[in-house]
Subunit: 337 residues, 2 copies
């Protein structure tokens, strides 16, 4: 199984990406890596992390890289030789089975959508992120692929994330909630009010609107929203978790007695870290494409990159994209608009 | 100074509202309370909390109450005798100086907008909520009054919240950030991209887009967003803070040693509670009206109601609405659209 990896994607690329790939290859002997990036720039790191002449590594040269500040569509048009475009093309041609990128999210979405294409009936792919909650986990979809959405898009996100949650969590009837500003049907903005009507008619276990606080008490297995709201939720949660940890740390530093307590309480904070560590999952799938694409966090660590590669291989092995496609066909809903 | 209080507003009304009013009257001898609600329903609580025949309490009867599930505009039209409408009317007529409600937010916004009216040049009022951050506080605006907004609305929220932050935090040049999904100008949805252009031209210290995680590191003094996103941020933050506290608590209960540690670390958790306690501020002002209106959380405690009444009295004393009005005139921007 071959995974195409955007070696230039991420805040600390290519170093972190190549280190993460090296760990993934050690841990998973069935994975072959196709590193896509600027040969000269990645060469020193290939050497550093022992990937030079590695039997399961191929390098494909990419002259360009999409920088974080660039508009996605313009970058896709002007930089035809960017690492993400070439990686997506390899998958489209069948020369790799999945793509992993921790770079510019918008560019990864645009490149894979154009090159790999969406599944029949799906207008737009969406990012599905696994989030921690009280007594379990939930999937947030879309977590940032689509900033402006129509109700039909959100309905498709619901179908895709429902299929993904069945496969990932093994739940028979995943509870689908629509993120809004009140539980009542009448609450929400124009987008969620229209989406509410669509979801109510669909053959899924739609539990209605859920509010931001309900997500973390695990009221739903899947929380559906547009990518702007989803990304704000994701980043807000990250920021708040870090700030609260900081408050606790500062408070434990107030005096010597508390410092000792803090040191003794370390296992508690390790428990907390295990739940809130964004690098644990490593990447979030872009659902709705014909082949798997895993999007990593821009600030991915080597461990996160390694986990993203593992998730990509699991998607390939479990044929998740085909299963989502079947689910969409079975639900017999034409949502192209 | 007379504060009109919606005695029927909130999940635990009228009991909690009347208890909170009773505390406020004890703590602030310059405040007179006008309790607006169903006389028969509030009578037992008036007795219980010692407000019967209180020299600084008047009761104004309201036959109806807007229930949490009702659409705001429909409720405003059909329930002309609701407690929030009557409370707003008292302020409009000059029979009270400010209004406080912990009830249906949409109904409070609609009733005060129609009865009290907005300041000249302001199309829509917005909720400004004070949020905790690393090393300080920031104002989130709009935190839930307007679910669907135009760029001009967000520009007005920026002006109003800027004036409020000057007055509340005493900052000379408050940093104004636009909540978006990336720091770069090109990132965002259609609404934020257009708003970015407007804010760039305004005589404020606009620092550009900020992401969810930046809010909690206090990158900006004011974070501007539409009311749907703002409310999702508010509720998500509440839910996550509670869940993380729950994780820590559970982890401290894992064994006897940890239980002892947890008991010893209580002052640390009291520190944390002081920062994250939503009842500390009690209420958030609805900026942009001719007279002060303070919106409380639906789940307000008596302490929260008391604090909301205190905030209302501070708004009256400091003439904050007039100052916002002057700031808008001075900025010489016509934003009505």
């Amino acid at each position: 199984m071959k995974i195409a990896i955007d070696a230039m994607g991420g805040d600390y690329a290519p170093s972190v990406v190549i280190e993460g790939t090296s760990i993934a290859l050690k841990n998973h002997t069935d994975i072959e890596a196709v590193l896509v990036g600027h040969e000269e720039k990645i060469a020193p790191f290939m050497k550093k992390f022992g990937l030079e002449n590695h039997p399961r590594v191929t390098v494909v040269h990419a002259e360009e890289v999409v920088e974080m500040g660039e508009p996605s569509i313009a970058a896709l048009r002007s930089k035809k030789k960017s690492s993400i475009t070439i990686a997506a093309t390899l998958v489209a041609k069948g020369e790799a089975d999945a793509v992993v990128s921790a770079g510019h999210t918008g560019a990864a979405v645009a490149a894979t959508k154009v090159k790999i294409r969406t599944l029949p009936g799906i207008e737009r792919p969406a990012i599905a992120t696994i989030m921690p909650a009280k007594g379990g986990k939930f999937i947030l979809c879309d977590a940032g692929a689509n900033t402006d959405c129509k109700p039909e898009n959100l309905a498709q996100f619901a179908i895709m994330a429902e299929a993904y949650s069945r496969l990932t969590f093994g739940i028979k009837e995943p509870k689908i909630g629509l993120l809004s500003v009140g539980e009542e049907d009448a609450k929400g903005n124009e987008l969620t009010k229209e989406t509410f009507k669509l979801l109510s008619k669909m053959p899924i276990n739609f539990i209605g609107n859920i509010e931001g606080n309900d997500m973390y008490s695990k009221k739903a297995d899947v929380v559906v929203c547009d990518g702007f709201v989803g990304n704000v939720v994701l980043k807000t949660s990250e920021g708040l978790a870090n700030t609260l940890k900081g408050f606790i740390k500062d408070s434990f530093y107030k005096n010597v007695f508390r410092k000792i307590l803090g040191a003794l309480a370390k296992p508690v904070f390790n428990d907390l870290k295990a739940v809130t560590d964004k690098h644990e999952y490593g990447g979030a799938p872009l659902l709705g494409l014909k082949k798997p694409c895993i999007i990593g966090h821009g600030s991915s660590t080597p461990k996160a990159v390694c986990n993203a590669i593992r998730v990509a291989s699991e998607f390939v092995k479990a044929n998740i994209n085909e299963k989502i496609s079947k689910k969409i066909e079975d639900s017999n809903i034409t949502m192209n608009s």
